[in-house]
Symmetry: C2
């Protein structure tokens, strides 16, 4: 346990008289903990080359990872006269999501371009017209986009005769370079990747028009993944900021990013994001569609929506949230709820259904959506438009009625060889989290579950990254494949770059805790490495092995700023004499390892035993 | 879901060019989120009076609670011509831990003084000499304590003929004012309190020499409690700071506080803390004992330890961590561990056992400790000296061997009618958390478990409040009665006042999520109140009902600072047109409640049905 020091002030429990100096010091710690300086210095992206061939071609796949160098272990001598020994520690290798360094004005290299064309099952074509309306009214008024993309532009491609989805290839028994790439990243057999894809229990969201993305997989048998949401809104944020947040999120470990823009420049922002994203990009196309009808949901039509979907397919969006499970008859099930419908897409579709007195066009045209998605390999993320927005509404009829419809739609998509994820809640009590993933797996036949948290209490706005990380760990433990992060700003405002970092790190923790709980192969390796570093007082290794080296070092320096403290053989909380780890180490250097200690005790016991005989073998010696 | 805005900078993913203005703005948000201004304005301590009599006397018990005023619900008219209606919302009542306002120089009133003397089973006596050595070498050198306590000083009391523990009274069938007070706070029957105490499944740590404390209970059947650690160390922190942190922790909801001081002025610091603490105070007496022998563990003796324990009993410490389960033969079980012994008390006792080649004096003299504790009603917190400090060491022989010894000692203490809690890990994988509380309950016959987290990964120094809150929620869900908080500084440095706040709020969340998961009566009331406020856009109510109103309001204002935004009928993330809650409300005002909506759909279906007949009853109409 640790005991605190204070940044000081009067002991009245009323006014805080924190001094200006303390404030300045605290701000320096805050700023340092928000940077990526130490991370950039210590987390180095590397790749190793793997040869791969199939019927389409032969490839040298460059598999990325993060390498963290570690210093040597120095073991002090046990016997007098012995020298201390030094053992090197191999660099720690981690899953890397940040992509290669590149110029954001030009975009990332098209990693998969050749893999896709070599398959000879797609054609390049003159895409849908680029329309200023795609960027909203302000762009039309101006007569130009805010910041037109000037980098690489390729004509879109689409499938010719058969679906070009990874699911289709998997079902045909074809191992693609994408599958091999993923198997290398996940340290698993490529047959596992193929069979899970074929069964629909895993997805690889990889639009053929987003060849920049590094293949990754989302499924229960693989590492738990995390998604970071971003995107501009009506009033705030610029394209630069969105691209910066993308890069920032990937740096800290986001496995996918959703661009949820609802404001101006939606098309152009998305172009910038796609061309610079090493991870799959998801969207909610109904948001852009709604912008095109002046934010009047009742004016939405299938034709407009389809056009928007194709626009995004051609740009390269890898997965799309489609709220096709909001049926007309489910809407009244939400009418007496405490918080109604809290999904934006869900509320838009509900409004449309009631106004038109029909099932929504995305439900009635679902097969057509499948026809489109299979030409680009866009993955469905079937939206939970009726997810509960409060504990009071959790696990109600509306939620499960919609889930059953999503199960039905999953089967339809699979009939087209289109990949599917299912989105999940929301706000639900902790004891019902497990049931939520289990019913999803049962109804949706193992389609990957992709959940927002869930939040386990409604009472802590400002801390919903925490209320939800608790639920996220539990739901991932039982099989949820991807976790959508929640930032501290949830329910309160728009997350800034710092909130993105906090959200990503918090969800790295939840995903990792779940991987460990699932006994995922090698999941505890990093814990072992950092614990060894901790016990051996390799402070810099401890900082660098943490998910956020900058915060770790800033917090350490807040207490013991001097450089020598990072060499110190005691921890910064306890000081030299009260450090349990130092005492443990002293015990080892004095009494040896387990065997030596046991022998020491045995020998001593014999001495005691002899003494015991002398005192007359009394079991209980009077204590006073 | 929410989408982020950014605090800006270049989109290169390398250098951050955050402007000075943005930095200053961020610092203002940070400072506001660290204060208690909004909380102090909205969380008002109140008491209500409850009459109580037993054979010893008649009392008007003043039961504390926190009252949060709420504004009215305004329901817009549904039918044209109807007026909108206004419904008042009753103030929300919460469990209060902050104690009455008072002058810290004088200390709190002795709430329980009369309850204790009326029982006529204790005597006041001339206590153990006050010795400057109790405050460490520096005080001896100076010839005086740093800041001698000048407030109320009472002669210590102790029991006369029988144990004066709440357990003893409970077993005699006596309902004490303390039990009644607790039953009122917990909204339960006082017989539940008595029977759980009698069975040892709950404890009320209430030293008769700490009459200032407001009675509280720790047990599986009651609200999950949280403890906040503080205390000075060799180099940092003053008495004023410790008292301020105490007040601060209680304000945010700490149910007990541990003073883990290891530096100078231990005795005097504790005096200040006890005289000002409305919550039970715990200590680890071996820390002070070690200070008295110049931090040389091998020089510790039973006599010195006993004297230190009596010193603390007379001051009023309510519970003490005693690492009596560290047996000599268990020490080698830790020798090949990755992180050895990480409990300070555990490592000190292990060192002593090996050096003296004997079982520790706290194990061999345990019955004597019981004799002392029962005269003051000090509760054992049996320390887990061999708890795992890393996932690699979790659930090993050392950990469970010690737990079995703690079970044995629990029985001994209960034979003396002395109250007992059991301390628990530490670092353990999430999937083994449940097993840990279940084996504890089985072995220790339901004695309350009191755990540090547990942390579910070792990889996130800087975020261990989060890694541990995940484990804490799970372990509390299955019966852990009190959670020891972990702050963001764990493993890195000394928590300051801000870390104390973050730790307490994070653990309020974990405890509350567990109460909900346990279906504790009324546990969801606050969630319902805040969710209603959220849906009705009662922004100030939402802020005030959160565990940390200051952070909630600071984060909200970061996005929409203007006052009118707090009246706005849309949320700060989405803007007016994309707000799902606003859309939900529009649906209700247009189509009515569930019944009205269903009727609307039914009527429409009939119209559709007639139209369907006209088109020739084709089930599938071609869509193009």
């Amino acid at each position: 346990m640790s005991e605190p020091s204070s940044s000081a002030s009067a002991a009245s429990g009323k006014a805080s008289t924190t001094s200006v100096d303390d404030n300045a010091k605290q701000h320096r710690v805050d700023d340092a903990s928000r940077s990526s300086k130490q991370r950039d210095r210590s987390h180095i992206r590397t790749t190793h080359s793997v040869a791969f061939s199939n019927d389409s071609g032969t490839y040298g796949l460059e598999i990325p990872s993060t390498s963290i160098s570690l210093s040597d272990t120095v073991t002090p001598a046990f016997l007098p006269g012995e020298a201390s020994s030094t053992t090197p520690n191999a660099p720690f290798e981690d899953y890397n999501t940040e992509g290669p360094e590149h110029d954001v004005l030009k975009g990332l290299p098209a990693l998969r371009a050749e893999w896709i064309t070599d398959r000879k099952d797609t054609v390049s074509y003159q895409g849908r017209r680029r329309d200023l309306e795609d960027d909203g009214k302000a762009a039309v008024r101006r007569g130009e986009a805010s910041k037109e993309w000037q980098g690489e532009r390729r004509d879109p491609r689409r499938g010719k005769e058969h679906p070009v989805t990874q699911m289709w290839y998997a079902r045909q028994g074809v191992i693609t370079p994408e599958m091999k790439f993923v198997a290398e990243r996940e340290h698993c057999d490529v047959e596992l990747v193929r069979t899970e894809l074929a069964a629909g229990r895993a997805v690889m969201p990889l639009n053929i028009n987003h060849p920049e993305a590094e293949p990754m997989i989302i499924g229960e048998k693989f590492l738990v993944k995390i998604n970071a949401n971003m995107g501009n809104s009506a009033v705030t944020s610029s394209i630069d900021e969105e691209v910066e947040k993308l890069t920032w999120a990937c740096k800290w470990g986001a496995d996918t990013v959703m661009d949820l823009s609802t404001g101006n420049d939606i098309h152009t922002t998305r172009e910038w994001i796609l061309r610079n994203s090493p991870v799959p990009i998801g969207t909610v196309p109904i948001y852009q569609a709604l912008e095109k009808v002046d934010e009047d949901a009742t004016r939405l039509t299938w034709e407009l929506f389809r056009d928007t979907v194709i626009e995004q397919c051609e740009q390269g969006v890898d997965y799309m949230t489609i709220h096709a499970g909001v049926l007309l008859r489910y809407v009244p099930l939400t009418a007496n709820r405490v918080t109604g419908i809290v999904s934006r897409g869900g509320s838009i579709m509900a409004q449309w259904c009631l106004a038109h007195h029909q099932e929504s066009f995305i439900y009635t045209h679902f097969e057509e959506l499948c026809e489109i998605f299979k030409q680009y390999d866009v993955c469905f993320s079937l939206g939970d438009g009726l997810r509960p927005g409060s504990l009071a509404d959790a696990n109600d009829q509306a939620q499960f009625a919609e889930l059953m419809t999503l199960a039905e739609l999953t089967q339809k998509a699979w009939n087209h060889d289109v990949q599917v994820m299912i989105e999940g809640p929301g706000h639900i009590p902790f004891d019902t989290v497990r049931m939520n993933i289990e019913i999803e797996k049962a109804l949706c036949k193992g389609a990957p579950f992709y959940t927002l948290g869930p939040l386990t209490t409604d009472c802590a706005p400002g801390y919903d990254h925490i209320t939800s990380a608790i639920g996220a760990t539990e739901i991932a433990r039982y099989g949820t494949a991807m976790l959508c992060y929640v930032t501290p700003k949830e329910h309160l405002g728009l997350p800034n770059k710092d909130d993105v970092k906090t959200g990503v790190i918090t969800y790295k923790i939840a995903a990792h805790a779940a991987d460990i709980a699932k006994h995922h192969q090698g999941a505890q390796d990093r814990d072992l490495a950092i614990s060894k570093a901790r016990f051996e007082f390799r402070w810099m290794d401890q900082f660098n092995l943490s998910y956020d080296p900058d915060t770790a070092i800033a917090f350490h320096d807040d207490t013991l700023p001097a450089e020598p403290a990072k060499m110190a053989h005691f921890c910064s909380m306890c000081g030299p004499k009260f450090c349990s780890m130092a005492i443990s180490q002293n015990i080892r250097s004095e009494y040896g390892d387990a065997e030596q200690q046991e022998e020491f005790i045995r020998n001593g016991m014999e001495d005691m035993s002899r003494a015991f005989h002398k005192t007359g073998d009394q079991l209980y010696v009077p204590q006073h």
